[in-house]
């Protein structure tokens, strides 16, 4: 008897099989990777390379969100890229050994489109038969299991689920380059402390001296007003609501940013008493009240306690970083040695690529990453560095706590400390806390401290 009961609960193997077949038949989720961002907060690096292709250790940034999607069993992803970068982007997949199919959708970046504009651009690519759309930014590095977030989303019947994580300061400081005080007012997220329901989202800078919370008296749960939560820019949105918001006649048609405008709009719509834009759910409700006159809306039936829209924040306690500033880019690169197993499980490239040639008399510390085809000559000293693929370090060079991009050559005698080098150093020099993107700025025998050595814009 107990066995039979158990069977009832767990389902027989045949049933389970049937269920899994069904999942395969119809994809429930479509993924959109937003990779057209210009990287406005790290212009020193993005001047020469699109942001989504900047290397984190030896891999381009875009590989991380793609791998995240792949881990969750997604077979396809729509990647919004800046026009002209499609080929390079689609190469990322084979270059990194990913199996996910990438459908790159170029957008014209000359008009500086916002994330919402990008989404509008690819709206036609979203299949009509999926339930949810996963929107993920190309600069997300996280060890979250997307499957968990999807399960959370479905279990709560959520309209929109945002991935959040505690905001952690960079471990490796200071970042190279001139000393700046990176003050940006942080986002404010208001959630119900127990359920994680999103009550209010205000992007940093969009609030003044006071924040007004919507009245949510139906629930007794206290509200957590947090400025220390990172909005990871991973959203799972119901396709219907996304289409509503991106439609031409919608109230959001002028909104440019998904995070700063559309997300707060959707969240605030939870508490609007009467929704003019009726979705399919609301249609049903109106039909019920039309044909079933005995339905009397109770006193408790307010939009606050029941509404077609419910938004939640999934609070991830592990690693979650957005690589959108030089300090975070620097920090992630430096930490990649220890993180790579977590954020790219199953895909971790060896920290010393087999094709790398390291001279036996070279001293390379354990926690350094050496990419494919990199050549390290004798009498060099490399401690805690990231050397991307096809770099060349000549004899007598000394590198510490530094990050070298692909195809960077360091000539002999250079001393590089705590610097980000994206161009070959053809002259003997000393770099401390510098960012180098243009080697022509380097002069023989000079010492540079806290500088950005980049190509001078043409108009100067």
């Amino acid at each position: 008897m107990p066995n039979k009961l158990l069977d009832l609960f767990h389902g027989s193997p045949e049933n389970l099989q049937a269920a899994s077949v069904e999942i395969k038949m119809r994809p429930e989720v479509q993924a959109v990777v937003l990779a057209a961002g210009p990287g406005m907060r790290m212009t020193a690096l993005t001047a020469t390379s699109p942001k989504c292709l900047l290397p984190l250790a030896t891999l381009p940034m875009l590989a991380f969100p793609l791998h995240l999607l792949q881990r969750a069993g997604l077979e396809e992803a729509t990647v919004v890229v800046a026009a002209g970068e499609e080929v390079r982007v689609s190469k990322v997949v084979e270059q990194c050994g990913l199996t996910i199919n990438v459908d790159s959708a170029p957008v014209n970046t000359s008009t500086d489109p916002g994330t919402a504009d990008s989404l509008r651009h690819i709206l036609h690519k979203i299949k009509r038969n999926v339930d949810d759309v996963v929107i993920v930014s190309s600069d997300l590095v996280t060890d979250v299991k997307l499957q968990d977030v999807l399960d959370f989303h479905r279990a709560h019947g959520s309209t929109l689920t945002a991935l959040t994580a505690p905001l952690t300061p960079p471990q490796h400081q200071p970042a190279p380059g001139p000393r700046t005080k990176p003050f940006t007012s942080s986002d404010v997220m208001v959630t119900e402390s127990e359920s994680g329901r999103l009550v209010l989202v205000v992007a940093g800078g969009d609030y003044d001296h006071t924040l007004t919370l919507p009245s949510v008296r139906s629930s007794k749960a206290p509200l957590l007003v947090s400025t220390s939560l990172l909005d990871a820019h991973l959203y799972i949105v119901k396709r219907s609501i996304l289409e509503q918001c991106l439609a031409k006649e919608s109230a959001c048609q002028d909104m440019g940013s998904f995070k700063a405008e559309i997300l707060p709009y959707i969240v605030s719509r939870q508490f609007q008493p009467h929704n003019k834009e009726t979705g399919p759910d609301e249609d049903f409700e109106s039909l019920v009240s039309q044909y079933n006159t005995s339905v009397v809306v109770s006193r408790h039936h307010t939009s606050a306690s029941f509404s077609a829209i419910t938004c939640y924040a999934y609070k991830h306690q592990g690693l979650c970083v957005r690589v959108n500033t030089i300090p975070t880019y620097w920090d992630i690169n430096r930490r990649m040695y220890s993180l790579i197993d977590k954020v790219l499980p199953g895909l971790s490239e060896p920290r010393r690529h087999p094709s790398a040639q390291i001279h036996e008399k070279a001293q390379v510390s354990e926690d350094s990453v050496v990419g494919a085809g990199t050549l390290v000559s004798e009498k060099t000293n490399i401690t805690s560095c990231v050397l991307a693929s096809h770099c060349r370090v000549d004899p007598m060079a000394r590198l510490s706590n530094s990050v070298l991009a692909h195809h960077t050559a360091i000539t002999s005698g250079c001393v590089v400390e705590n610097s980000l080098v994206r161009a070959s150093l053809n002259h003997k020099c000393v770099l401390k806390n510098c960012i180098v993107t243009d080697s022509s700025r380097i002069q023989e025998g000079k010492t540079y401290i806290n500088e950005i050595l980049e190509a001078t814009p043409e108009f100067v």
């Binding site: 942080s186 404010v188 208001v190 402390s193 609030y207 003044d208 001296h209 006071t210 924040l211 007004t212 919370l213 919507p214 009245s215 949510v216 008296r217 007794k220 206290p222 509200l223 957590l224 007003v225 947090s226 400025t227 220390s228």
Partner: protein, 717 residues
């Protein structure tokens, strides 16, 4: 007398301070006869719930703090009875009586000066019914205090939704019940504390709070049982700053001046346990119901909280409690079927059981005290009946709270009301919701008491001595004879008007004016509606009342002149009154203050009283008299006072003489000028003229030979 408990010098003694003069009252119809904390809730005095809870939570010593009034002895005796049943190891209850305690702040200052508080203590109101786990709360408080020395107080809140907001919203005082809290998520430090004004209001959070803590925990409406764990710093803070009248004002002060004081307050929002204050009658009704429904377990109706013996029989099916000696008689007209059909019963003793088995299922929630006779035809729901009452056939009581020795004859309908001791309701009396029937009242037959009426057995002014008998705006109609149209042909009852109850209840008045005048306008609204005054008049009267209060208090406390001026100016700004009106009001107020002090029984102002008032406030008056014209205003004000209250007339000459000679506020010349011009031209001037003629004559003579005026002072006075 109270048990004089020796305070042992042990550091581990956990003390609790119970304030019996709660900030909100039940109204004079109840509290005139019985102090609020001794009003029985489900036939157990409110104070017992507090004491029993504190005892259970391991509190060693309770300080019951009360103001000196006729009820003090009752409270002392009650506490003595409570402790006399306990052995030496039991809870110790000390009653501390104070002459001039007006609010929580005064109580703290007084206890500080008496240095009765040794360590951390629990501060609560005597009308609290709670089952929270105090030990945990206190332990956490001490732990927090060890880690953060600046933390001086832990406020305890209960996070529960208020389902009955509709009930309490009627009075407008429900706002005291909940608070909006913003705390730091990691420490629980209180960053923002606001009384919720109305239910739908949105919460706005100043973003500067993010500098203090990146994560804020916001409680939109936490129930506030007025419970706090205080460190020894709190009483000293109260005595350092006399502006702190209530706990709210302390919270505000500490939060606003955090940099200055260097103190912080933490919150504990408790999810488990029960806590509710029977602060108003609406809340009283709510708490009664919840106690009957055993939400305050282990404090339940059937067990006595003083002796812990089982006093009532409890029927869990119908949530009814009755004393074994209560009789449920079979009345001739009481068809038990009808009772069963109505789904409620307190039926003939044996019938109760059968009713249950018939499955009528209605939880009637009733408590019936010892020796009470309830006819089978009576229907009780959510009601409490005290000892030795008689409820005849056909009585319908819904949420009625009936005290002891009450006789209710057939056909009476009671709903949501309070019936005091020894009340007799003749046949067919209908008591509507919100009514309070004071002790000894007789009503009926066949009358309907309109909702919200307060009835007392004696004409109001005998037992409710107003502090302002001479207020010209006190338009209370005083009923000398019971009006049969109100209380019925056999009845004896007088209506206690709401504003009357507000005024004689000066504890509440002063509380509200000390509360930063937050509730002042509210009360004003009700007064306004009743007196049908215009807004201007109203605010003027309100201002007058406040100044009068300040002066009366100031005289009692011997406040310094600067403080009085500050207080008066604050009132002036609050009501936007012109300087001239201020001067008039202050002058009259000072003279009235002299009279109120000497008012025992008689309302006549006596010269010694006026003289002390003048002495006391000469500096205050001087502050307002700056020009010659101001002196005229003072004289006119005195004259107008004579119009309203001619009993001052005999003292006029002495008043003027002292203002002129002793205090040198009025110049002789000005008085003579005023006199010659015919004063303010009111009807009283002719009488004043004759009564001060002698003084004027003397003044005129005096101004001729000024050199002698110093000597002649003594002769005339």
């Amino acid at each position: 007398m109270a048990p004089k408990v020796e305070v042992h010098e042990e550091p581990s003694v956990l003390q609790a301070v119970v304030l019996t003069e709660c900030d909100i009252d039940y109204g004079a119809a109840i509290t005139h006869y019985n102090p609020k904390v001794l009003v029985p809730l489900a036939n157990t005095p409110l104070l017992d719930y507090t004491l029993a809870w504190l005892e259970r939570c391991g509190v060693d010593e309770v300080i019951v703090y009360c103001r000196a009034n006729p009820h003090t002895d009752k409270i002392k005796q009650h506490c003595k009875r409570f402790t006399s049943r306990r052995e030496e190891c039991g809870i110790k209850v000390m009653v501390v009586v104070s002459e001039d305690c007006l609010n929580l702040g005064d109580a703290m200052r007084d206890l500080y000066s008496k240095s009765l508080l040794k360590d951390d203590f629990i501060l609560l109101q005597g009308d609290l019914v709670a089952t929270l786990n105090l030990q945990d709360i206190v332990a956490k408080h001490k732990e927090n205090r060890l880690s953060d020395k600046s933390m001086i107080m832990t406020c305890v809140y209960v996070n529960k939704p208020l389902e009955t907001t509709a009930v309490e919203g009627e009075e407008g005082r429900g706002k005291e019940v909940t608070a909006t809290l913003v705390t730091a998520a990691d420490t629980g430090k209180l960053l923002l504390h606001r009384r919720s004004r109305n239910k739908s209001s949105k919460i706005s959070i100043p973003t500067e709070l993010f500098q203090a803590s990146s994560d804020l925990l916001t409680y939109p409406a936490a129930y506030d049982p007025s419970l706090a764990i205080c460190s020894e710093v709190v009483p000293s803070l109260f005595s350092d700053n006399f502006d702190y009248g209530s706990r709210d004002s302390l919270l505000r002060g500490v939060i606003e001046q955090e940099e200055l004081l260097g103190y912080s307050i933490r919150c504990q929002v408790v999810q488990e346990g029960y806590a509710c204050r029977a602060s108003t009658l609406q809340q009283y009704q709510r708490v009664s119901g919840e106690v009957m429904r055993r939400e305050a377990y282990p404090m339940v109706c059937e067990s006595s909280l003083t002796s812990h013996r089982i006093r009532y029989t409890y029927d869990p099916f119908t949530t009814t409690y009755w004393e074994p000696s209560a009789k449920f008689t079979k009345g001739n007209g009481g068809a038990s079927e009808a009772v069963v059909g109505a789904g409620t019963e307190v039926d003939a003793g044996s019938v109760i059981i059968t009713c249950n088995f018939r499955g009528n299922g209605g939880a009637s929630e009733a408590v019936v005290g010892a020796g009470t006779e309830v006819d089978a035809g009576a229907i009780l729901t959510a009601s409490v009946v005290g000892d030795h009452c008689t409820l005849a056939d056909g009585v319908i009581a819904n949420a009625a709270f009936i005290m002891n020795n009450v006789q209710i004859k057939s056909g009476c309908e009671l709903s949501h009301c309070y019936i005091g001791d020894d009340v007799v309701l003749e046949k067919g009396v209908v008591v509507s919701s919100g009514c309070v029937v004071g002790p000894g009242v007789r009503l009926g037959p066949d009358v309907t008491i309109p909702p919200g009426t307060q009835l007392v057995a004696h004409p109001p002014h005998h037992h409710a001595p107003s502090t302002h008998p001479h207020d010209d705006f006190d338009e209370t109609a005083r009923v000398k004879e019971a009006d049969p149209s109100i209380c019925g042909s056999k009845g004896k009852a007088f209506i206690l008007l709401p504003e009357e109850s507000d005024q004689d209840d000066d504890e509440e008045e002063e509380e509200s004016s000390d509360d930063g005048r937050s509730s002042g306008p509210d009360e004003g609204d009700s007064e306004d509606a009743l007196m049908m005054m215009s807004d201007d008049e109203h605010s003027e009267n309100e201002f007058r009342r406040e100044v009068q209060e300040s002066l009366t208090n100031g005289m009692r406390k011997k406040s310094a002149a600067e403080n009085m001026v500050l207080e008066i100016n604050a009132s002036r700004h609050a009501y936007n009154v012109s300087m001239e009106d201020v001067l008039t009001t202050v002058t009259q107020g000072i003279l009235r203050a002299g009279q109120t002090q000497k008012q025992d029984g008689s309302t006549e102002p006596t010269w010694p009283g006026i003289n002390t008032a003048l002495k006391c406030f000469a500096d205050v008056l001087r502050n307002y008299v700056r020009k010659g014209r101001d002196q005229l205003l003072v004289l006119n004000a005195i004259e107008k006072l004579m119009v309203d209250s001619p009993e001052y007339l005999p003292a006029t000459q002495k008043i003027l003489f002292n203002l002129n000679q002793t205090f040198e506020i009025l110049e002789g010349e000005v008085i003579i000028h005023w006199y010659k011009k015919g004063g303010a031209g009111t009807t009283a001037f002719t009488t004043i003229k004759t009564s001060i003629a002698q003084f004027i004559e003397w003044l005129e003579k005096d101004s001729e030979d000024e050199d002698d005026d110093d000597d002649s002072d003594d002769e005339s006075s």
